[in-house]
Symmetry: C2
Subunit: 192 residues, 2 copies
C-alpha cells in the first residue's frame, strides 16, 4: 500500500480539525500539528487556508455523496429510502454526541460572507445534494407516497435546509428533540 | 438625552461586527476600533470576548422578541400572523442582501462546541423563541387552519429550525430560492 502523501495527511487532519473547531478558530499551525508535519510544508501544497478549506469541503462532500447513494436503492420504496436516509444522518449526529454538526452547514454559516471561492463551492455542493434528494422525492410522488401539490425540487431544497437547521439546533440542545421534530413533521405532513 | 455609555458603545459595535464577521474572525481590537474606544477600556466592562458574546446574544434576542410580538396580534387570524412573521424575516434577509444571516443561528453553529456559557444561553433563547411560535401554532390548530395531528410544540420547534437552515442556505445562494421553498412547503403541508 502506498504511503499516504504529506498533502493527504494535511487534508485528513484539516477535515477533522475544521469540523470540530470551525474555520476561523483553526490556524494553519493547528492543522500541521494535527497532521504531524512541519508548518513550512503547508504552503508547498496549498496556497492558503482558504484553498485547503475548499479541498476539505470537497473531501467531506465525496463522503456525503457516497452516503446519499442509498437514496437510489431501487429495492426499497422511495419514501422508506428518504426516511432511512435522514435517520442515518440522525444516527451520525448521535454517535458524535451532537457535536460538530454538518461541515457543509458550518462552513456555509461561517464563511459564505468571508470567502467567495468557499461560498461558490458550497453553492455547487448544496445544489448537487438537493438534486440527490429531489430524484427520490420525485419517485415518491410518482408512486403516490408523497404529496404532489408541491414541486419536487422545492421539497428537496426545503428538506436539506430544514435538516441543516435541525443539525444546528441539535448542537445547541445536545439531545434528540430537534431530530424527532424533523422526522415527525416531515413524514406526517409531506406523505400521503 | 443621556450620552450612551462606553459599555453601550462596545455592545452596539460588537452586535454589528459579530453579526457580519462571526465570533472567531473578530478580535477585541476590531470591536473597540468599531466602537471608537481604546482597547484597554474593554476589560473594564467585560471579563472576556465570550462574556461580551453573551451580552450581544441577549441584545439581539431582545430585538427578535419584540418582533415576535406580532404573533400575538389577536386582530389577525393566527395562520396569517405566522405567514406574515416569516415573510417579515424574509424581508429582513432581502434588505441585508442575503448576508449576515441570523446571529442566533450563526453563534449556534460556530460556538456551541466552543463555549458552554454561550451554548447554554442559546438554548434558553431558542426555547423561548420556540414557545413564542408554539402559542400561535396552538391558536391556528384551535381555529382549524393548521393540522392537528402533530403536536404544536414539535411544529414550532421544526419551524424555527427549518427557518434557521433556510437562512443559512440563503447566505450561500444569495437569492430567494430557499425562502420561497420554506413558505411554499410550510404553508401548503401544515395548513388545512
Amino acid at each position: 500500500m502506498a504511503r499516504p502523501s504529506l498533502k493527504e495527511n494535511i487534508v485528513a487532519a484539516a477535515l477533522d480539525t475544521l469540523h470540530r473547531q470551525g474555520f476561523n478558530a483553526t490556524g494553519v499551525q493547528d492543522i500541521t500539528d494535527a497532521a504531524g508535519v512541519p508548518k513550512g510544508s503547508f504552503y508547498n501544497h496549498f496556497e492558503s487556508k482558504e484553498d485547503l478549506g475548499i479541498e476539505v469541503i470537497e473531501r467531506y462532500w465525496q463522503r456525503a455523496l457516497t452516503h446519499l447513494g442509498m437514496l437510489n436503492d431501487a429495492n426499497v420504496p422511495p419514501i422508506v429510502r428518504l426516511k432511512s436516509y435522514f435517520r442515518s444522518l440522525d444516527e451520525i449526529s448521535r454517535k458524535n454526541k451532537y457535536q460538530r454538526g454538518c461541515l457543509i452547514g458550518n462552513m456555509a454559516t461561517e464563511m459564505s460572507d468571508q470567502s467567495r471561492p468557499i461560498r461558490e463551492r458550497l453553492a455547487i455542493v448544496m445544489a448537487a445534494w438537493t438534486r440527490g434528494i429531489e430524484s427520490c422525492v420525485r419517485e415518491a410522488q410518482a408512486d403516490g407516497s408523497m404529496r404532489r401539490d408541491i414541486d419536487a425540487k422545492m421539497i428537496a431544497s426545503f428538506l436539506l435546509n430544514a435538516w441543516e437547521g435541525t443539525a444546528m439546533r441539535t448542537k445547541v440542545d445536545k439531545d434528540r428533540t430537534a431530530l424527532e421534530a424533523f422526522e415527525k413533521v416531515v413524514f406526517t405532513s409531506l406523505t400521503q
